[in-house]
Symmetry: C3
Subunit: 443 residues, 3 copies
Amino acid sequence: MKSAVVEGGAGSAPCAPSREADIGDKIYQLVKDIFPFCRSVAGEGVRETLRRLKQEIDLVIREVPSGTEVYDWTIPREWTVRDAFIRNASGDKVLDFRACNLHVLNHSAPIHARMPLRELRDHIFTLPDQPDRIPYRKSAYAESWGFCMAHRQLMALPDGDYEAVIDSSLEDGSLSYGEYLHVGASDEEVLLSSHICHPSLANDNCSGLALLTLLARHLAGQRTRYSYRFIFAPGTIGALAWLARNEANTKRIRHGLVVSCVGDGGGPTYKKSRRGSAFVDRAAGHVLRHASPGSAILDFSPYGYDERQFCSPGFNLPVGLFQRSLFGTFPEYHTSADNLDFVQPEHLASSYSMIQAILCVIENNFTPVGTLLKGERQLGRHGLYVGGDGAPAMQSANMAMLWTLNLADGNHTLLDIAERADMPFAELLSVARRLQAHGLLEP
Amino acid sequence: MKSAVVEGGAGSAPCAPSREADIGDKIYQLVKDIFPFCRSVAGEGVRETLRRLKQEIDLVIREVPSGTEVYDWTIPREWTVRDAFIRNASGDKVLDFRACNLHVLNHSAPIHARMPLRELRDHIFTLPDQPDRIPYRKSAYAESWGFCMAHRQLMALPDGDYEAVIDSSLEDGSLSYGEYLHVGASDEEVLLSSHICHPSLANDNCSGLALLTLLARHLAGQRTRYSYRFIFAPGTIGALAWLARNEANTKRIRHGLVVSCVGDGGGPTYKKSRRGSAFVDRAAGHVLRHASPGSAILDFSPYGYDERQFCSPGFNLPVGLFQRSLFGTFPEYHTSADNLDFVQPEHLASSYSMIQAILCVIENNFTPVGTLLKGERQLGRHGLYVGGDGAPAMQSANMAMLWTLNLADGNHTLLDIAERADMPFAELLSVARRLQAHGLLEP
Amino acid sequence: MKSAVVEGGAGSAPCAPSREADIGDKIYQLVKDIFPFCRSVAGEGVRETLRRLKQEIDLVIREVPSGTEVYDWTIPREWTVRDAFIRNASGDKVLDFRACNLHVLNHSAPIHARMPLRELRDHIFTLPDQPDRIPYRKSAYAESWGFCMAHRQLMALPDGDYEAVIDSSLEDGSLSYGEYLHVGASDEEVLLSSHICHPSLANDNCSGLALLTLLARHLAGQRTRYSYRFIFAPGTIGALAWLARNEANTKRIRHGLVVSCVGDGGGPTYKKSRRGSAFVDRAAGHVLRHASPGSAILDFSPYGYDERQFCSPGFNLPVGLFQRSLFGTFPEYHTSADNLDFVQPEHLASSYSMIQAILCVIENNFTPVGTLLKGERQLGRHGLYVGGDGAPAMQSANMAMLWTLNLADGNHTLLDIAERADMPFAELLSVARRLQAHGLLEP
């Protein structure tokens, strides 16, 4: 693999800054496009979304029939919802699915009935603590029906009879997921995965879907060391369906990230793989430490997104979770406030840049070896000394060379050096290439 | 040993809460019963105490003759004290052993002499910093005579001649210690030891003696994985005498605790074994972290109680020290204020409960193995999901299942899982049994 | 080597306190003697200094011809400066080398020219932030000429023409360095190195040169376990020249210290070797922790003094850097304020004492083995118990014995014990010798 490493090290794609200066706007536009679709675990909403992503990259869409057993789970029926509302005695709609698809319990069974408010209330979910926001709720594995509503609005409803209508169906069909493979020099893979089962929630997870799609498009024209596998699948059951169909192939996965909630201004947050010291854990930890003083590196726990499946003990893949604000910790989480105002192009762009930086470490890490190990190099003689009068940038440039040369003994990778020097990997990568070009490191 | 483990894991004694709800009161009563005896390193006071403990458990009382060489030490002569007082010129007793046995230097030689106060003073110990308390002092290995007295009282004595009487004798006899073995499924042993050489000091160590005695009685009717050996011996020399007589048997000791000062409201404190990472050190550290925010886990040092002997390099046994307030750090320590008011039933009960919890970990730790390792379990399908609306208790119950299943790969014991999940061992043990009952873990 | 260890352990030199009570004054006097010489990388200034040191110890002075290739470097020409000044139009000297040799750019090419101030300014270095101090600057590897001056003085110069004279020459000759070997029982060596290339800077590094010279003189009459090699060489190129001539001998170096800036009142500071866990790193860390609450232990970095060369990857020697204030962090650094007032006998003496304490650990560390490992020793029986009424010194003396005996199992060196007991090595060494004398440790 040595040659592949060196080849990759000589300028591979993920380190090259995106040629699209307006990448934040482009991701945001794609978020906007897929925001309205009423996704669920299985049904047309997912397929509409996948078709939109396919306009950007050559996505393969796969179907898994309802009823298929997947480890401890069963692929559910497809959910179709045509309309839903609650009408008061005067015939006015007091809740309307067309205004916001969160109003219907996701994967809800159909209902058409008239009942008094006190009875209907048992089927209405609200957030008393956030009385103006509609909660997102789902019931994919137990058949029930229900609505979601702003608490203040529910409180304002007068007693009396209401007509509850959910014009939905739950029928055998299939669960859909999308897959895209960027082929690199090696068949060792980097897995990048985003869940696609939530309806109109912008951060969770239109943001992740859009970011990974445009990252895949960016890679398309590039030569890389690793192959990159993108998966857009419904949470839990979709990831499990992919794993069940690809058990043998999981051996190829060397690194991976689950990506969601990447459009808000919080974090960044990285949750480590179950292994805790996988290379991706070190790479992401390194990048985040240098990206922001507010970054949080969390240990693995068996609660969260699809890293739970990839890291279940039978797979135990080296896959972590990248987010901005951690799921469940921001008030907009799983509410109607997770909308197109909550995500911003600038945050999408910086998330994109951090994920690229993590992949840059994975793609380009190598073990530099100095051509002279005895004594310090005289940088000036090689035209490498950055002169000036002690300005920090100059000092940093010289220190990066000194660190790289001092640790280029064949026992340290560039990430080892970056960590010991406490400098960004990308800066040391650029220094290492310069030192190679001047003959101070082996080519 | 696998079967013993599983057998033990299925409901063994130390985890079962004591059936005696009033355990604190019962321990306290026993403390009261043994408090008055005038114990010393060797003599009738120890035997009276052992006979009282034998009313609770089937204690074996052993005798080691004076003069026996025990490693670097020699069993001292027996001490008998019949009376002791100081009388002033008018014939009034200004100090009386019958009022408090701390008044006599423990193991004091006899004296009957009249002398001026300035001469007598050289033989009177006081605590100038705590002028109303009588200190506890002993002289077991160097012959001398003396009294202990409240400093304020000594200061108030007028000059003049006094009659000093200590009607004691130091004669060849034997050192006594008590031993009790609860036989479990395995002949591997847990050692539980309390020193029995202090006179009327309630916390140090009537409390430890009484607690271990009632714990032994509680175990008597139970099936356990380990055998439990209880030792009630005079400090240092008693522990060494036991070690010298049982050198070969020390190989069986897998875990152990020295127990003293367990009736005050401080701590809890755990001082690690010399090994520093023995299983009992992990178990006690785990239990104490969850028991109290004020708990202190201390590294081993060669100063303290009989853990010094069990942990001397030639034995290096996995034995730690459990206390409430650490010896030497509370003002009542080794004074007449360490009396029956200083120890309380509630503290005795909570110490009992913490020691039971430590033994529960030792007794029940095992390596759970999931019956399906690929993908997360669908808890709802198995009737295990604890529903509700995100209340902490519900979340904790589900998290305990998720952690156990995620780490049930054959490489983690239940204590490993409890530490990684940061949850009490007992909670995970109950969860693991439930998961076994539902077929999600191997039986 | 066991016998050498024991021999060394029985009272070897570096632990014996210097017989010279006025060692600080003696070091200071030597600092004063060598302060005036105008040292540079190569030239007569270095030789004058070495000749003065040779009055104290039997120094060998070695010469390396200009033009010799030394790894990535070339031995420069010798610099000779006879006079230098700037004269104004009236013929008054506004800068005079004879007042302070920092006034001339070290290793400056000759110049004799008249030019307007605005042109001359490009060749004058000042410190705007410290306007009354003359900076120290050098140009050993690129030919240029220049002056150094107080900023305030430069600002006060009226416009007009000035006469700039540097009567210097750069000619082939040789670089000089001094070497002194104290022969011990073993041919394993401790390296002690101080740079000798700076002109009149008292702390950096007349202090290091003087301290090591008097330490070498102190060792001269002593029996030691290790051999001690002292090197007084120009920074970087001098250390490299020594390494190039002694490559095979570097295998003998077991421990080492670079010593500079040891006369100010800051720190102490120890910068670890590149290995990070060399024995000298542990020994110095231990000594400094006990020496001062203000001590700083720093990780290796490839910037600093000659530890950079000794620790370059092809050598990777176990050599750290001992300083008081860390180079570059004190305002007097590399200015005319680093003068004979800045260094003080008391600081030189305490630096000397700390370096001795580090060498004491290196020289005397051994693995004590108890003659009885079972049970605690009865210190009183051996006349070793330090009685009294709990005073801290008494407790500490007994604890030192208890720790040593408890860990004297053949698996712990005396430094291991000192670290675990959190007591100074020298105290435990004295205790261990006492225990050996009483037969409690093997001889």
